[in-house]
Symmetry: D2
Amino acid sequence: MAIHTFQPQLYYNNIGSYEPALVINDGDTVITSTIDARGWDHMGESVAPRGNPMTGPFYVEGAQPGDVLEVKLESMTPNRDWGWTCNVLAPNVVDPLTATTLPTLEIVRWQVDAAQGIARLEKPTPGLEYLNLPIRPFLGCFGVAPSQGQVISTATSGNYGGNMDYKALVAGVSVYFPVFAEGALLHLGDGHATQGCGEIVGTGIEISLDVRFSVRVHKGKTIKWPRVESDTHLSCIGNVRPLEQALQHATTEMLSLLVEDYGLSVNEASLLLGQVVEYEVANVFNPAYSVACKIPKAYLPVRKS
Amino acid sequence: MAIHTFQPQLYYNNIGSYEPALVINDGDTVITSTIDARGWDHMGESVAPRGNPMTGPFYVEGAQPGDVLEVKLESMTPNRDWGWTCNVLAPNVVDPLTATTLPTLEIVRWQVDAAQGIARLEKPTPGLEYLNLPIRPFLGCFGVAPSQGQVISTATSGNYGGNMDYKALVAGVSVYFPVFAEGALLHLGDGHATQGCGEIVGTGIEISLDVRFSVRVHKGKTIKWPRVESDTHLSCIGNVRPLEQALQHATTEMLSLLVEDYGLSVNEASLLLGQVVEYEVANVFNPAYSVACKIPKAYLPVRKS
Amino acid sequence: MAIHTFQPQLYYNNIGSYEPALVINDGDTVITSTIDARGWDHMGESVAPRGNPMTGPFYVEGAQPGDVLEVKLESMTPNRDWGWTCNVLAPNVVDPLTATTLPTLEIVRWQVDAAQGIARLEKPTPGLEYLNLPIRPFLGCFGVAPSQGQVISTATSGNYGGNMDYKALVAGVSVYFPVFAEGALLHLGDGHATQGCGEIVGTGIEISLDVRFSVRVHKGKTIKWPRVESDTHLSCIGNVRPLEQALQHATTEMLSLLVEDYGLSVNEASLLLGQVVEYEVANVFNPAYSVACKIPKAYLPVRKS
Amino acid sequence: MAIHTFQPQLYYNNIGSYEPALVINDGDTVITSTIDARGWDHMGESVAPRGNPMTGPFYVEGAQPGDVLEVKLESMTPNRDWGWTCNVLAPNVVDPLTATTLPTLEIVRWQVDAAQGIARLEKPTPGLEYLNLPIRPFLGCFGVAPSQGQVISTATSGNYGGNMDYKALVAGVSVYFPVFAEGALLHLGDGHATQGCGEIVGTGIEISLDVRFSVRVHKGKTIKWPRVESDTHLSCIGNVRPLEQALQHATTEMLSLLVEDYGLSVNEASLLLGQVVEYEVANVFNPAYSVACKIPKAYLPVRKS
């Protein structure tokens, strides 16, 4: 149960079977940092090419293809006092005819006060002078090496995680990934101080983070898509276009979860989900969209396995 | 500001320019009832063909094409002690290959205790014996006569409302519809005792309701899609397939709302929505899917108009 | 087997159960005319509001819900010497980011020489001076009254036909519609001198037409979507968004056709379709997209029924 | 202008920056062979794991990121006398409710007579005894190393080509790929004796091929998606889900082609495409769907560049 402090030197813009940056054991904790989506670090210096450069990969001893890697997100804290966002809705989230009228995109800076937990525009225009946003920092992009030796851009996501940009993955939450490569090879980065659903301006408040997480390897358990446990919900995440298919993946995985872990029949799981399921549109911007299928833990039966 | 008590005699399975069932004035309140999606009334008797038979239409004096009709949902209360649902996930909400393995659909009855606010399966299988669901009654299908004299099945929805099956439209909420026909011609029905997001088994807990609502006509105000105001949120609803386009309609309407009612520029509205927007999948089952784009009122600027 | 000459006086912008404009018998032929999508007739005069005003409806004696109405398109000939198109790709057929750069839409006129079968831009810009297009006139919008008494805008389409804008529905082709109302109630209009796949500028070369067609009622035969027979192909048309679902409807109907009319098993029909099927994107512009699933008649087995 | 004969020893199930199997020069011709989608070679022996194992990669001297690689497909000939297909429609190409009724999938063998150019089921059931299909061999999966060092499964496709399963890419056609890596690194495999549109049973008639192709490097020319030239058409291919977006990519690329290579304005290109464009659904089965946007060469203006 070691605690590792890891200072990244090299960042990858793909997720894949790269040389491990650090080898850790099942149960270990890592204290590290991530740079922002454009490769800007805690000093605002450009230390890697843009496009979600990743810290890692972390090789977890004992993690084998077919296992599950649990990543407990212990803390994510902005390590500088500013972030940035785009200032125009992505053209694919408005009607095509409205898209033809959108203004030109610019990058806008926000002040981020991690101690007070508040973000404000650096130079608010009159209409937004009132705006103070509570921050809820999370990692926009993290996951394990994909199947079959693939090496895939951090622009997108899949069953291995990746650029899901899901705002619910905050400190305190555990995320479970299917393992496809020896050691799982966990990558992480693309910190956001906060974000709405869908990442509809193409960014959260992009920022560098100090991150603390721990890992656990679960043997003899197979999952097909990332799963999440928070204090209040179990969730399954589907990553693909279009939205309907992302929702299908997430719902199918939730059905498996209820049948396998809680011993429900397909009919029972359907009766339950039909009346209590919640969906969250994590991102509707990236090459793969992300949808979470969620069930409140309050409505779950006793766990069977 | 009259209060009308209206006992429906005739139900329509389309929404359109039918003869008014009742003529009311701007500001009036109506106390009435709706039968369930299969046409079963408070006694469980079949009084209309299946497919969301509607109470109404209610003709609102003074409502003209181009106006907005506000419908304040004052109360919706189950008026019988049972409802029903389907017991299998809809084949379009799971992966196509999983769809090929789904069991046969059956109708299942639930006990609904309106006084205690609880629903339970009438004959729970062992896996679901524990299940008590709080009810949150709402109208699955309601809206105004569509544009241009169209008469459209209550299976679907559009900019005029219709079968949106949106579980957030509970008592206390105001819904705003664009008016397309003289008198607006409000139809309502398809009560649900509760429902998860998406109506993914094809039903909520389908039930007959006692309904109380009031209406207000807003002149000189044009909207393109239904809007909603609750204690905590403003929302816009888009109704169409696929999900991405429903989300586009809802987001475009929210953009208009922020620009027109709150005086924000497109860039300001984008900066705000990007970090605080929420989406809700109202239904992913009907011929038109429904997505709500929501903004917490806590983050809104001062209203301009 | 009468031949009727019908001069329309009234045009509907919806398809539905309107009073018949003419009652005809099974086997009869009708010679009539249609005005263009904006309501401009053979003289270029505006005689109806824009939005695909329809000639008809024609009530066919003996056609009952559950039957099939065959419409043999005998001839469609432009009855004026000009048509019009839009001059910009629809924003939904290009990448969203490209959509933001599209020029403003204008209406452009084309000369149409029906005798020579040629269309040319009236005022070609230098880049298109060479362009002579062979015409292939067809009806963009035609169909029968929809199910359940619905009245639906001619902007869209469904299982009853409507605004399919399918360029393959030229003279010589038979189109089969499911009958939903007594007399079937055939509507027709929205003539195009020619068009590419998808109607991607939102129009074909829009023009008024002289039309000759005949009808036959097929009893004891049920279809779910429009079917087409040409000299070379059998086709089934699905009308809905998104494209994938339109393709699903068309393919499902083709599967039924091969099983019911040709006696193939689902496996046999799959083996055949998998290697010979063709798809055509009829329109990717209207509220419902249209996709045709086609099989060359050369590969069909002997018909069983 | 050398002619290389290359006997593959090693096959990759991803497309990416692997060690070159052979280095060739601009203008060279290669005579080689491919094994089928399951890794079965000309003798029917399993020589590689399933999932479209690739011959190559071929490193083309002088090809640099930003260039275009032209691959002229000179000949593709089955080198064994049988192929195989699946025998059930993919569940995603029929209505979801119909998907729940599909029979279990089996692999079925076909006799392939390359000399006569005919394919027949090995054991035809009575309904398909008549069936003789002309073969049109093509490569289902080929392309160049993707951008940014990515290594991507041959199950899918992208702007680098890959598993497009496009039946029009037969002998005589030239395919143009954007170059992302030094040497372009061309991979090829997944031969099909023939196939319908969409690969709707999940396979063509899968077979091993003898292949002859030549390459040319085009400097100073940038394309974003694969382009195709045949005797009769220019085409652009978009690879992504959903179908509408694949169509958007293909149409956007065609717009660029007409503007850049033929000097048309966006309005001129729109006027032309609107009336003559053709779309082809290459595959509607793989993780990325493929749509071709085609223009008949007969309607093109004089080429400018």
